[in-house]
């Protein structure tokens, strides 16, 4: 891949996207997009005030133990509830008055000190579900206890982004997250870019391009399959090349899948993918630490912090730090009291994290009380959709958060 100019994405779009010469796949991926984006960049329409801005959403699946992530050092109730699992004040990385990071999160400490990280305490929703599947579904749809079938990012794309723009949403994972399920957009979902390809001779591949065209039929499932096949054909070359040719000196850490996935995002951003919404997850219910939590959780947090710090550093190296924000969530926190098997059970309120150069780093909202509990669980202080509204409005510049989130949610003033 040719090295990219260090100009901003806005200038880059205006100068024309065909010029970067990544390979034969490019014009197909950017099909009908460059002109639209460039026009928006020039005009600064209300719908698209910031066409260069990208949101990366990171999911920690399984229910991360927020109390051992952002440790409430000054609260004796924390140590009473966690005689074995509590992180001693002497070991935590103190970063703010009364709060410390888990000792393995050196990466987050760095980001926080550099003003690139915000912590929003106590996120949750009314009538919380303690089921992974229900609660994750609520975070994905952004409509707790509501039975919504589309994801919040999918609805955001439906409302805010032109469906003619291909690959507005990229979801790195082995299956599509409900969070990105959209009515008008077809998210690009893949796991390993190297294997995102059609095998075969040129003649076979040519025939399969013909056989994989989108079509109209009475069979809705077939229609879905065919349009997915066409998108796969058209996007796979670009994604594969972007990833295969990507070189970075930045260390994303060695553990877990998150670092690799975030590096894939960096590669696509570097290659000029028109994607505005990236979704990656630390998958497999990894954070569900019911039993013997201490070592496992320590590793998970280290991998997570290393990966995000690596990503932010890499984006900065690419000259794109000002264009990318990261939001991190999990489906619930864990019970205040540790359980009898040196682990923690499903809980409620949990911190969320936002990263980027565009933010005012620091702590937001109130930490929930550890003594005024609801059946052993913390009472949330911040509806998680306020954080969604914050990234939608303050970062991506889309005003009508009510339409996307199906309710009014005050933003938090996290972004400058």
């Amino acid at each position: 891949m040719a090295s990219r100019c260090s100009c901003s994405r806005r200038e880059f779009l205006v100068r024309g996207l065909y010029g970067i010469g990544v390979g034969a796949g490019l014009p197909l991926v950017l099909n009908r997009t460059s002109a639209a984006l460039a026009a928006q960049a020039l005009e600064g329409t209300s719908l698209e005030r910031h066409p260069e801005r990208i949101l990366v959403v990171v999911e920690l699946s399984g229910g991360n133990d927020g109390l051992n992530t952002i440790v409430p050092l000054a609260d004796p109730a924390y140590y009473r509830a966690r005689p074995n699992l509590g992180i001693p004040e002497s070991q935590a990385i103190k970063f703010a008055d009364g709060f410390g990071f888990h000792p393995s999160m050196v990466g987050f400490e760095r980001l926080y000190k550099d003003g690139l990280m915000s912590v929003v305490h106590g996120c949750g929703y009314d009538h919380p579900s303690l089921s992974h599947f229900s609660s994750m579904g609520f975070w994905h749809t952004g409509v707790p206890n509501g039975g919504e079938s589309l994801g919040w990012l999918g609805r955001l794309a439906d409302s805010g982004f032109n469906p003619a723009t291909r690959n507005t949403i990229v979801n790195i994972g082995s299956s599509q997250s409900l969070a990105v399920r959209s009515h008008d957009h077809s998210p690009l979902v893949f796991d390993d870019p190297a294997r995102f390809r059609r095998e075969g001779t040129d003649a076979e591949k040519q025939a399969l391009v013909e056989l994989s065209r989108a079509r109209e039929t009475k069979n809705a499932t077939l229609e879905f399959l065919a349009s997915t096949a066409q998108n796969a054909t058209e996007s796979s070359d670009f994604v594969r090349q972007a990833s295969a040719t990507y070189r970075t000196p930045v260390d994303y850490g060695i553990g877990g899948s998150l670092g690799g996935n975030l590096q894939r995002v960096a590669a696509l951003i570097a290659a000029g993918m028109p994607t505005r919404l990236y979704y990656v997850s630390y998958a497999g219910n990894a954070f569900d630490t019911h039993v013997q939590q201490a070592d496992l959780h320590s590793r998970l947090l280290m991998y997570t912090a290393d990966a995000v710090r690596g990503f932010m550093e890499d984006i900065k190296r690419l000259g794109r730090a000002d264009e990318v924000a990261v939001m991190m969530f999990t489906e619930f926190g864990r019970r205040v009291e540790e359980n009898g098997s040196l682990g923690t059970d499903h809980g409620t309120a949990t911190p969320m994290f936002i990263f980027g150069t565009g933010i005012k780093g620091g702590l937001y909202s109130q930490h929930p009380s550890l003594t005024d509990l609801d059946d052993g669980n913390m009472k949330m202080t911040t509806d998680f959709r306020r954080v969604y509204a914050t990234v939608i409005k303050e970062w991506l510049g889309y005003e009508d958060t009510q339409a996307v989130l199906k309710g009014r949610f005050e933003t938090l003033g996290v972004f400058v």
Binding site: F196, A232, D251, S341
Partner: protein, 598 residues
């Protein structure tokens, strides 16, 4: 070898009948649970039934089914105990379990902790004080156990796949797969293939009997008890996991119970645990106090809770609807759900009447049900082999790797909710991959194939290479300089990386090797037996044999042009290049969007 060759005459008759006469009469069949008339029984409908209730079949087998009455077909399919299946072999265990390995510790750290306390763990003694790496034998044994279990589980998956391919009771295996997804349990947490095997046999034995028996079976199943940590569910510290999944995923579904019901159910199951492979009830750990569950009050135990759950109409509806979604289609109307649920509950939760009703219903054969289901990865691979007429699952490429790369591992569902199925199987990447895998089957890469049951991770293999070069353990296990690596244990009591390597090596020595064979495909004979002597006829035969939906004319033309281009003529005669050309053609057919539908 090709199992059954298709008589040319029969196939000619089938071609004439394909897809004709379906579209008109069945337009108002959706939602109609009344039985299909013998006069409406066609080749396509027989193929549809065999695809859904089993794993598909070759055209001649389908023709045989089409010649019977629908009622006889469904009776034979569902009352499968009457079909002799003794030719299927039991699982051939390697014998990897040594005395002292039970109970297998949940982590390496725990294995070491036990060893520190007792001087031994996993049946292995700690080395004398003063020796370097005193705990190394324990750590080696722990990794051996992990790897040996993983290999045995791979072999178990292949054994099951072969059952699916060769069974004469396809519904039995299809149901066993359903229950595996419904009562999802993963070896990656259970870490004991013996438990997984026993659970699989329990599913099979109770697959179509009374649901209560199956439910009691799974709640007393060691693999499930371990998977949901119910050993931790004790009177003083009830663990809600078991109670929650029982209500949410196994019986009632979200929205029909309260958080309190979850906790009360969990209390009733305190003391339900396992001594390795045997269910145990420990009365000392059981909470026999009063519970209030779903509006009833009493000193309920686990069996009482099951009884109360089965009294709820919603339970019968939940299970009936899930079976319907698995066998028929994703959306089920409320009235049909209630109707099927009532049949199920009033019939004492016996599954056979419910299954027969579904398989005979007009709804099952209506347009919204027909060829609208996305095949699961396991179904996709097994049914392709079955349609090819294979009598054994090929092992190059590896069966387990094929399906897991598409999102489905036998004995390894993603979580306790099982596989979400339907459209979630499909992403742009998995869709391409679904085709690619069959290219590997049709053009197997025997030379560079690396058997997963004998391949170490790159890190472990590197340790082995360095040791072979004469390095000591410390040198051989040094690795990179990333931050997290610095924290990896440099504990002098043992070396984890060496343990990983040694455990692998030992497991390779002691587990039976999976014999590696590519598919015994002979497409030249297949088209000859079908009497397909021209390019057009070959394409039509492949479409007929493999696709459930008709291909559009222009897409059919792409295939015809492709084969004609390969052969340079319209005539299909045995020649050097014929087999490869046919395989390329089949690769195209199996890569179409249409082929994903069953």
């Amino acid at each position: 070898m090709v199992r059954v060759l298709l008589p040319a005459l029969l196939s000619a008759g089938i071609f004439a009948g394909t897809s004709v006469g379906r579209a008109q009469s069945d337009s108002d069949w959706a939602g109609d649970l009344s039985p299909i008339a013998p006069a409406d029984w066609t080749y396509d409908r027989a193929a549809h039934l065999i695809e859904r209730a089993g794993f598909g079949e070759t055209p001649d087998q389908i023709a045989r089914v089409a010649s019977m009455s629908p009622k006889d077909v469904v009776d034979r399919l569902v009352d499968y105990e009457n079909t002799d299946n003794r030719s299927l072999k039991p699982f051939d265990e390697s014998g990897v379990w040594d005395p002292g390995m039970d109970p297998f510790p949940p982590s390496r750290a725990e294995a070491v902790r036990i060893a520190q306390e007792r001087g031994q763990s996993l049946g292995v003694k700690v080395l004398p004080a003063g020796t370097s790496r005193r705990f190394q034998p324990v750590v080696d044994k722990f990794f051996y156990g992990l790897m040996a279990n993983s290999i045995e589980t791979q072999r178990l998956g292949l054994w099951w796949a072969n059952r699916m391919l060769t069974t004469r009771r396809p519904l039995e295996e299809k149901l066993t797969l359903f229950w595996h997804g419904h009562f999802a349990t993963g070896e990656y947490k259970v870490r004991d293939y013996r438990m997984m095997l026993r659970q699989n046999e329990m599913f099979r034995a109770r697959a179509s009997g009374a649901f209560r028996e199956l439910l009691v079976g799974i709640l007393k199943d060691p693999a499930m008890l371990v998977y949901l940590d119910n050993g931790e569910n004790v009177r003083k510290h009830p663990n809600e996991n078991f109670g929650r999944e029982l209500l949410e995923l196994f019986t009632m579904g979200v929205g029909h119970y309260t958080e309190r019901d979850v906790r009360e159910a969990a209390r009733a199951f305190t003391g339900w645990s396992n001594d390795v492979l045997v269910f145990t009830f420990n009365a000392d750990l059981h909470d026999d106090g009063e519970k209030m569950f779903l509006g009833r009050t009493g000193n309920f135990n686990g069996e009482d809770i099951i009884g109360i759950i089965l009294e709820q109409p919603v339970t019968a509806e939940f299970i009936a609807a899930k079976l319907y979604r698995y066998f028929v289609r994703e959306d089920i109307s409320d009235s049909m759900k209630k109707d099927l649920g009532r049949t199920f509950r009033e019939g004492g939760y016996r599954m056979k009447p419910l299954l027969k009703r579904i398989f005979l219903s007009k709804d099952f054969y209506s347009p919204p049900s027909y060829a609208t289901q996305i095949k699961s990865p396991v179904h996709l691979v097994v049914s392709t082999y079955r349609k090819m007429g294979l009598s054994e699952v090929p092992t190059i490429p590896d069966f387990g790797r094929m399906t897991s790369s598409l999102g489905q591992s036998l004995f390894g569902p993603p979580n306790v909710a099982g596989w979400a199925g339907g459209r979630t199987w499909i992403t742009p990447a998995t869709l391409l991959h679904r085709g690619n895998l069959f290219r590997d089957v049709l053009f197997p890469d025997v030379k560079s194939f690396r058997p997963p049951d004998r391949t170490m991770s790159a890190t472990d293999a590197r340790v082995g290479q360095r040791l072979a070069q004469g390095m000591n353990i410390t040198e051989a296990t040094r690795e990179g300089d990333a931050e997290s690596n610095m924290m990896a244990d440099r504990d002098e009591d043992y070396n984890t990386r060496y343990g990983g390597y040694k455990g692998n090596a030992d497991a390779f020595e002691r587990t039976k090797v999976i014999p590696r064979r590519p598919a015994a495909i002979d497409l030249t004979s297949m088209v000859k037996a079908a009497g397909a002597g021209t390019v057009d006829k070959v394409v039509d035969h492949f479409i007929h044999r493999f696709l459930s939906v008709t291909l559009a004319q222009k897409d059919r033309a792409v295939l015809v042009d492709f084969l004609r281009g390969k052969l340079g003529t319209d005539a299909v005669r045995p020649s050097e290049k014929l087999e490869d050309a046919l395989r390329e053609l089949l690769y195209l057919v199996l890569s179409t969007p249409e082929y994903q539908l069953g």
